[in-house]
Symmetry: C2
Subunit: 276 residues, 2 copies
């Protein structure tokens, strides 16, 4: 395991704050996707800004990120505003901007987040970890495609890998895989947020056809406390994603992330553009 | 069926615009919940502002609403900003404010939305309408509790009604019900958005215990086109909701809404506060 100082995730999430809620960052080549950063690293960066804010109350509860336009490689500014603070919840609005061709700021990403102080209450889990083989019994997946960010994760496929035959023969959109940061790193909220977006587009699997696709909006609900993340450590998470509806150029999927002990750490949903 | 001029939903959604994106509205006694408006009517009002905006592109694709604080009965202001317009998607940020005790505006609700122009593409439905009896075969539910907004909906329970014995004996969080506006009204995007929040708190069903609970954040993905809503008309929708995780004072649920013909019109998710 790397120390946090040297881990590429921590380097990618580094933000300099000029005033409360005003941050400057840099896109990270380590988490580059095809035409912009991996969406998960953008989500994690927004959450990082909330957690670094001096007025932040409690722990992450929900995060919605809207990918309005691809970030270009280089510097960006991030604004995080605690719009309203209640006794046990705090509501945030966030935006990332970059300088446009004329030098004026252009919004690339909008987001909202809720943080909360959480208490011990009656609890129940209605989405148990599915019966799957242990990580060590699952083959380590080659990077699905050429994007650099795929090298930042160790993925061990259980089912629903990227098709090997792109012949239109798909009939399911379900993927299950064990995952963790590469190199291994103790789990925290930002790492969890990034992993919630790890799933390749469901439309590729369901159609067994590769078409242009990109996340438009993702929502992540955090169920884990900081103590449960600490207990997860650098262990694997099981990620599961399944689409619901593909229509008129957009599909949605639902996802769950459990740790090896079977605790559901986060649930997530996204709506994704696809072509044709 | 009422004409749209006289329907309580249209009256509740009435907004006066003083400038593009600046609206004034009034909370509606017809859709009052316990300590504020029904969350669904707030979501529908935000969507109404987007759809009335002179610059609105396309049809609703996603909507996330964060309930930062209860609206008080009376006037409110709503701001809707098209932050970024792309070729086929448009990204919106929204907020509702009311005058606080000192006369200064207080944010009660934040939201983001995406609208999109949608095209004919390959399509598939991976969440089929479950096998359920037709609406006429299902008993019409009495209002679950005393809130006025419950009288604005006809609900015909299939399974997972409100417990009749509050004895802690619950073991499932699944509810399925047929629903439509009362009086009946042709479906549109705002009516669909409101109905996505119709489900009583899953924690009541799962525990068979009534505890204080309230939605913190809801996300709705719209899969239907305007033409599919028109084809649905004033027919019933089947709504289904099921929780995933209850922990530390918050739970999430996933929901689906189909029309009688079996078309999945919308999917939705929310995270909900509960006590104890």
């Amino acid at each position: 395991m790397s120390t946090s100082q040297s881990h590429p995730l921590d380097a990618a999430l580094a933000l300099a704050s000029s005033a409360p809620g005003q941050y400057a960052g840099q896109t990270s080549p380590s988490y580059w996707n095809m035409v912009g950063p991996f969406g998960g690293i953008t989500a994690a960066t927004l959450l990082q800004a909330v957690l670094q804010h001096p007025d932040c109350l409690g722990e992450p509860l929900s995060l919605t990120v809207n990918y309005a336009g691809a970030l270009e490689a280089g510097p960006f500014t991030l604004q995080a505003v605690p719009v309203r603070t209640n006794r046990s919840t705090q509501h945030w609005t966030l935006a990332i901007s970059q300088a446009g061709a004329d030098g004026q700021p252009v919004v690339t990403t909008t987001a909202t987040a809720v943080t909360a102080t959480r208490r011990d209450t009656w609890s129940a889990s209605d989405q148990p970890l599915p019966p799957v083989p242990a990580p060590a019994q699952c083959p380590q997946a080659e990077a699905f495609f050429g994007s650099e960010w795929l090298r930042r994760y160790e993925m061990r496929l259980v089912e629903g890998s990227l098709p090997t035959q792109w012949d239109g023969s798909g009939d399911s959109s379900l993927t299950r895989l064990w995952m963790r940061d590469a190199p291994a790193r103790a789990l925290d909220f930002c790492a969890l947020a990034a992993m919630a977006d790890i799933f390749f587009p469901r439309v590729w699997l369901r159609r067994a056809q590769m078409v242009p696709a990109g996340t438009v909006s993702i929502t992540i609900y955090f169920h884990a406390s900081r103590a449960q993340l600490a207990a997860t450590g650098a262990g694997y998470l099981l990620g599961q994603a399944r689409a619901q509806e593909f229509r008129h150029g957009f599909f949605d999927h639902s996802a769950q992330l459990w740790n090896e002990a079977g605790t559901l750490l986060a649930t997530s949903h996204q709506i994704v553009y696809y072509k044709e």
